[in-house]
Assembly symmetry: C2
Homo-oligomer: 197 residues x 2
């Protein structure tokens, strides 16, 4: 069996990550105090340094966890779609919608890149991006999409969705501009479609 120590440690890690998500999301990475954060979790900075090596390591763990959750939601969105092409679009829309959540916005879109560097270089391999790349490659293979570089297209699509999300989130009435963003996104994406000869 897993030792009691290992169990306890996992619990500690979970508590710290939970508190960190809350703190990073509400105050931002820079303004979040490790002392406060750990106290919130009923621990001290000692636990933090032992488990994550430091503030940045904790951020890394938080980002990985959220990234994981986002991938899962993208999978669900894609699975719901009628065709693979619609699946790609649904993935993008799901991405946009997720970025409406302050937590995702602040941690993944604003602070994450500044603290950990370009997302595509994250250890997690940026699962979201990888998924999109695979989907596009499949669409190219089946002739639905023009033979462009799949990774390039994936990054552009994701980037477009990302900025759409930031725009929406910063808008006075997010839910009013969301449809406009989604519509523009769908239109833009058609540029990748194979022009039937």
């Amino acid at each position: 069996m897993a030792t009691k120590r290992a169990q306890k440690m996992e619990e500690t890690r979970a508590k710290l990550i939970r508190a960190a998500r809350e703190a990073f999301a509400s105050k931002g990475y820079a303004a979040a105090s490790m002392d406060e954060l750990t106290a919130e979790a009923g621990l001290t900075r000692g636990a933090l340094y032992h488990n994550f090596g430091g503030k940045q390591g904790l951020m890394q763990a938080v980002v990985d966890q959220i990234d994981q959750e986002m991938v899962e939601r993208m999978l669900v969105a894609q699975a719901r779609a009628a065709s693979r092409w619609e699946g790609l679009l649904e993935e993008g829309v799901a991405y946009i919608e997720m970025a409406l959540e302050p937590e995702v916005q602040r941690i993944m879109l604003l602070d994450g890149p500044a603290v950990l560097g370009d997302p595509s270089q994250w250890p997690n391999q940026n699962a979201c991006l990888l998924r999109t790349t695979q989907t596009i490659q499949a669409l190219i293979d089946e002739g639905t999409v023009k033979p462009v570089d799949a990774e390039a297209a994936a990054r552009l699509i994701n980037g477009a969705a990302l900025n759409a999300a930031l725009w929406i989130a910063a808008a006075d009435e997010p839910h009013a501009v969301l449809p406009k963003a989604v519509e523009a996104f769908r239109q833009l994406a058609t540029g990748l479609l194979q022009t039937e000869g």
Copy 2:
């Protein structure tokens, strides 16, 4: 005439901004020490707080300056193009190329949003984005582009270009993937074109 004091003050501001650009670009915002930075400019933190109110204010000034330079380069790129539509594409390509510069990448794309919040909310109004929006609106008016929301389209286009740039900059051989990104960008953009009926 402008008083000597005002002249001197402008000079001081310029020196601080120059030193800040260098420091922020090379070390990143968080790791840049105000003491070192100001000493580099032959000044102290006193001057900084008097002129910019703090570290964040200095960042703001730096961002504004770079943003201004980017707009100018985008204007040049657009002016070179044969048509307005090609002008939009050239703007995007110029944007991608600019983001190859470490200074732009680090300050504008990574740290900027984390420190100052979403770019579209910057006081400068994000001149780059405003330009793109206007261009797209003109293209819609002349019937070249589908009647989508101009601002939404602009954000998507800019976002796509931005991420393409980040991808390129992080690549092993940036200049090898640049053409792939540009090609994908041009293809994607065609999605906005009016489908001739």
